[in-house]
């Protein structure tokens, strides 16, 4: 049971959150101009790193805000900002 640091409500149990996958995947500026392959990339391709992953969560049961954290996918340690020190344990 991860303790996920909501930037607003503070650390809460992971059951309060909804996972949003890789962060910073922007909706293309002009989708109609994209090739099918590039559109597929937006739709379906996400990074899947073993290690630090910048990802989105939604504090579904709390303030309903979406936010971004960095998490180590091998240990579930969570990092905020650019810190190398995990905020959770």
């Amino acid at each position: 049971m991860m303790l996920i640091p909501c930037p607003w409500c503070g650390p809460r149990n992971e059951t309060e959150f909804h996972y949003g996958g890789q962060a910073d995947v922007s909706y293309p500026a002009e989708p109609q101009q994209l090739s099918d392959a590039d559109w597929a990339r937006f739709l379906f391709y996400r990074a899947n790193p073993k290690g630090i992953f910048t990802e989105r969560w939604n504090h579904q049961a709390g303030c309903r805000r979406w936010f971004t954290i960095r998490r180590d996918t091998t240990t579930n340690e969570i990092f905020q900002d650019d810190s190398h020190e995990a905020v959770t344990r």
């Binding site: 049971m1 991860m2 949003g20 989105r56 959770t88």
Partner: protein
């Protein structure tokens, strides 16, 4: 009658409370405070079953949760499989039996209650032996919030069974004093009989509290979030591998000591003690002093510790150094042990000597209980000094201390425990000091000599040398695995099944690694051990299920009109978490006839449905129109205030995922509706786009689903009925046209009324605040009574909308359907630059002409309803499989209005096949169905205005 092996005094049992119990068909007596094992031993019962593979007699081998042999099936008070006799509390009327193999589950319902609780603390201390108690004292005195839990029924850990003195007084006094202080300290939670069995991310530890068979809650699961954790989990004594090491009467040395001190039970009359380390000497001395004859202490080491030697000499106990037990005799109970000198390079083979005994105590060293440390991603290393795995790292927020960290003297445990409690509290932000700890006797220790396979023991005896007693796995089995080419401990574990029994290898885990190492000719450290997975000890399914059972399994969501529905005895349909009336049967009616009646009423008179479950979201802001244009396939910015439009939402992949109506309630304000099951998902989806993609858009979303109770009033007579309960709304078509809304008063309550219809009939949707829902519902029902106003449920709603070809998202769609597939291109704007899903409509697969289309199907008029889900094929005769399929029936009903069955289906190139006959595959028959337009009733749409 006191058992003949019960000492006249001593122990922590309550001799004033005798307890009667039954084991394997025999009646016995023990005392309150006994375990089943101690009570059996007090009656001279050692053998408690036979082994799983070989049927060999097996006895009680330990005094704790590490017990490999004494598995029991509880019969009374309630059947429970596979508990260890060493941890079953004795109670009056307990009936248990030995259990070599499979446990038995009760066939009657479990009457006990189970629940869960969340807890937070600054310092969690796992284990309340000398280490844990000392740690708790330091931490508690700092003002930190402390939880201390121990699996045992009472605190004290090893002190309970060791008879040790602290500050020259019985250790029990210190235990009682510390426990009392902890209980009296605010913000300290004391949890005896509570096993912390798992450690998860961010110091989330899970424990099960055994509150007692007669307690209101039998077991409680604790979810503990701890800032700091002190693991004072102690250690487990390890048995030794030698031929015949499984005979009843063979017992871990320190467990025997526990039986004497804690339970006042002598586990035998004459003992041989076989050891590789100092700890068994204490057992030998204590058993001797309690009246057990010690035939010899057999020590594999060349030199015994001076202190222990002196104590043995004092008592006339012989010590055989550089010797080992290399065999045992006896049938159902050990009767003798064969002793051989440990061969050295220059010694000649010798004939073993035999010592008579009825008790063979063994100690192969101590395994720190590193389970939780390991679950905390702490690493372990093999320590040559103590011959065991010890913590090799300090995970953040978790510190192992005392025996769990490889410190085995009480003095050291007390001191390091006290320090660990202090350090943990300080780490959690409290100004803590070490609590003073009592003095404990300690002396010089001779290092243990880790021993796996005894030198000089012939390989042939491998099948009598047990590595895992619980799985009946022997040295021969390990040898076979190695011989088959296996070298990984994981493979060998799977090959031999070592470590997979109820105890998950508590006694056999490292032992098998040692044996493997010797057979492979490598270091133990190279072999390593298998992973320590939760739970640390077995935990009942029900304990983890807690109170989320029955109706509390998942929330039942109800509407404001629910109690009215209950008065009608209607069956409910589960729609997500909602309970929705399915149909309202009248006496003697089945579902089909009720639905036909309800449909008929709506088509010819007036019906009413509770549609409060539809999701509702208030959308406000200057950019609300632009936002809705992006998330709906059709254009919402052109909607005029006061008007309503149907809208479809697609995911970016172009597939329909929700639908509903959009009301424009102001220049910058809309109220949108979602499907009943989709409300939360849609809101989160919208927030996602708003917050992360289009934060520049000034839009706010507010869920108002439960603010409104919503009633659909449908049918040609609906206007007439509504008119009776409203005076300030002009219900005329021109004043109040289709797809518009207005505020007014209904049945005396402020209401928002919409002209929308999901049936094709003239219909009104009346929204009032939740708490007026039932009143207004009843007022409408009353107002329509002379018109036979008919409440209808989800089934009738489904039929009526299907007659009109309106799809239901999730029933007529499945995540692979576009608006075009639904024939709803009219709801896809061609004027917008972009909206979610638009780009996906031009992908190769979405422009295929042979995609599946939603079409209507007509089976023969006199035939039965073709079941939903039926697959459709082209040919009247089935070829050999695989048979090409054209699609499937998504909705299928009997129509009251058409007086025939009809269906909706997704069919390949369906719109191009209209007029064709294809076949539904029902059971083993093919039913012809004609493909039609999806609209069956009132194609011109004349009825919506009444």
């Amino acid at each position: 009658m006191t058992g003949e092996y019960r000492l006249a005094e001593g122990g922590r049992i309550n001799r004033d409370r005798p307890v009667r119990f039954r084991f394997d068909g025999h009646d016995y007596e023990g005392f309150d405070g006994d375990t089943l094992a101690s009570a059996l031993l007090s009656n001279g019962v050692h053998q408690v079953g036979t082994s799983i593979r070989y049927g060999r007699p097996r006895g009680i081998a330990s005094a704790g949760p590490e017990e490999p042999n004494a598995l029991v099936q509880i019969e009374e008070p309630f059947p429970e499989p596979m508990l260890t006799a060493t941890t079953v509390e004795l109670r009056d009327g307990l009936v248990a039996s030995s259990l070599p193999g499979q446990g038995r589950l009760a066939t009657e319902p479990d009457p006990a209650r189970y629940d869960a609780i969340n807890a937070h603390c600054d310092v969690l201390i796992v284990g309340a032996g000398p280490t844990g108690l000392a740690a708790a004292l330091s931490a508690a005195r700092s003002g930190a919030r402390v939880i201390i839990a121990d699996a045992d029924t009472e605190f004290g850990g090893s002190l309970l069974g060791s008879g040790e003195a602290l500050d020259h007084a019985p250790a029990g006094r210190w235990i009682d004093r510390v426990t009392a202080e902890l209980r009296d300290t605010p913000d300290v939670t004391v949890l005896p009989h509570t096993t912390v069995f798992g450690r998860y991310d961010d110091n989330y530890l899970v424990a099960v509290e055994h509150r007692g068979e007669d307690a209101f809650t039998r077991q409680r699961t604790w979810h503990i979030r701890a800032r700091e954790v002190v693991l004072a989990t102690g250690s487990h004594e390890r048995p030794l591998v030698f031929p015949g090491n499984d005979r009843p009467g063979t017992m871990l040395a320190t467990s025997a000591r526990t039986y004497v001190h804690r339970y006042g039970v002598l586990p035998g009359r004459r003992a041989v003690v076989f050891t590789t380390n100092d700890s068994a000497y204490a057992a030998a001395i204590d058993l001797h002093d309690a009246g057990v004859e010690i035939a010899a202490v057999v020590d594999v080491r060349p030199v015994a510790t001076t202190l222990w030697t002196a104590r043995c000499v004092e008592r006339g106990i012989q010590i055989l150094t550089s010797c080992a037990v290399t065999g045992t005799s006896g049938t159902d109970r050990v009767s003798g042990a064969q002793i051989s000198p440990v061969p050295s390079a220059d010694s000649a083979p010798t004939v073993p000597s035999e010592l008579d005994c009825d008790l063979l105590l063994v100690s192969g060293g101590w395994n720190p209980a590193v389970h939780l440390h390991s679950q905390a991603r702490g690493t372990v290393r093999y320590s040559e000094e103590i011959g065991a795995l010890v913590p090799d790292s300090t995970p953040r927020g978790v510190r192992s201390v005392g025996a769990a960290a490889g410190s085995f003297t009480t003095g050291e445990c007390l001191r390091t425990g006290s320090e660990a409690g202090r350090d943990a509290a300080r780490e959690a932000g409290f100004g803590a000091d070490t609590a003073e700890v009592p003095g404990a006797p300690s002396g010089p220790v001779t290092p243990p000599q880790p021993t796996w396979l005894l030198p000089g023991v012939p390989a042939e005896s491998g099948d009598e040398q047990f590595v895992d007693l619980a799985r009946d796995a022997t040295v021969a089995d390990v040898r076979k695995a190695v011989g088959a080419g296996m070298s990984s401990v994981e493979h060998i574990k799977r090959f031999t099944t070592i470590g997979t029994a109820h105890d998950q290898g508590k006694t056999s885990g490292l032992l098998s690694s040692g044996v493997i190492a010797e057979l492979l000719g490598v270091e133990v450290a190279q072999v390593g051990a298998t992973t320590f997975r939760p739970p640390y000890a077995p935990v009942a399914f029900a304990a983890l299920a807690g109170r989320d059972r029955g109706d509390l399994y998942d929330p039942v969501r109800v509407t404001a009109m629910h109690d009215w529905h209950l008065t009608q005895d209607c069956p409910f349909e589960n729609v997500g978490q909602w309970k929705r009336p399915w149909y309202y049967p009248q006496p003697g009616e089945d579902m089909d006839s009720a639905v036909l009646r309800e449909c008929h009423a709506v088509r010819t008179g007036v019906g009413m449905q509770d549609v409060s479950t539809l999701g509702k979201i208030d959308v406000q802001g200057p950019d609300a129109a632009e936002f809705l244009d992006l998330v709906y396939t059709n254009k919402m910015s052109t909607l005029k205030v006061g008007r309503i439009r149907y809208g479809l939402m697609c995911h970016a992949d172009g597939m329909v995922f929700d639908d509903g109506t959009v009301m424009r309630t102001g220049e910058h304000r809309y109220l949108i509706s979602t499907t009943s099951g989709g409300a939360a998902g849609v809101l989160e989806w919208l927030e996602d786009w708003l917050q992360t993609e289009w934060p520049h858009l000034q839009v706010h979303l507010t869920s108002v689903t439960e603010h409104w109770a919503t009633i659909a009033l449908a049918g040609p007579r609906s206007r007439e009925v509504l008119a009776r309960v409203t005076s300030d709304i002009d219900l005329d078509n021109d004043a109040f046209p289709f797809m518009s809304w207005t505020d007014g008063t209904v049945a005396g309550k402020a209401a928002r009324v919409c002209r929308i219809s999901f049936s094709g009939e003239l219909a009104f949707e009346i929204n009032v605040p939740w708490w007026h829902g039932r009143e207004v519902w009843e007022a409408l029902y009353q107002a329509g009574s002379d018109q036979d106003i008919t409440p209808y449920g989800t089934e009738t709603m489904h039929v009526l909308r299907a007659e009109k070809g309106f799809p239901i998202v999730g029933q007529d769609t499945d995540g692979t359907v576009t608006p075009h597939d639904l024939g709803m291109s009219w709801a896809v704007s061609k004027k917008k630059d972009d909206f979610l899903g638009m780009r996906s409509f031009s992908r190769a697969d979405t422009v295929r002409s042979d995609r599946k289309h939603l079409v209507g199907l007509l089976p023969p008029a006199d035939s039965a309803v073709v079941p939903e889900g039926t697959q459709l094929v082209e040919l009247a005769e089935l070829p050999e499989p695989p048979v090409p399929m054209l699609g499937h029936i998504t909705s299928s009903y009997r129509s009251a209005a058409l007086d025939r069955p009809f269906a909706l289906a997704l069919v390949k190139s369906g719109r191009d096949r209209i007029g064709q006959t294809i076949y539904g595959h029902v059971g083993d028959r093919l039913v012809p169905v004609e493909i039609t337009e999806p609209v069956f009733y009132d194609k011109e749409g004349n009825r919506r205005d009444g």
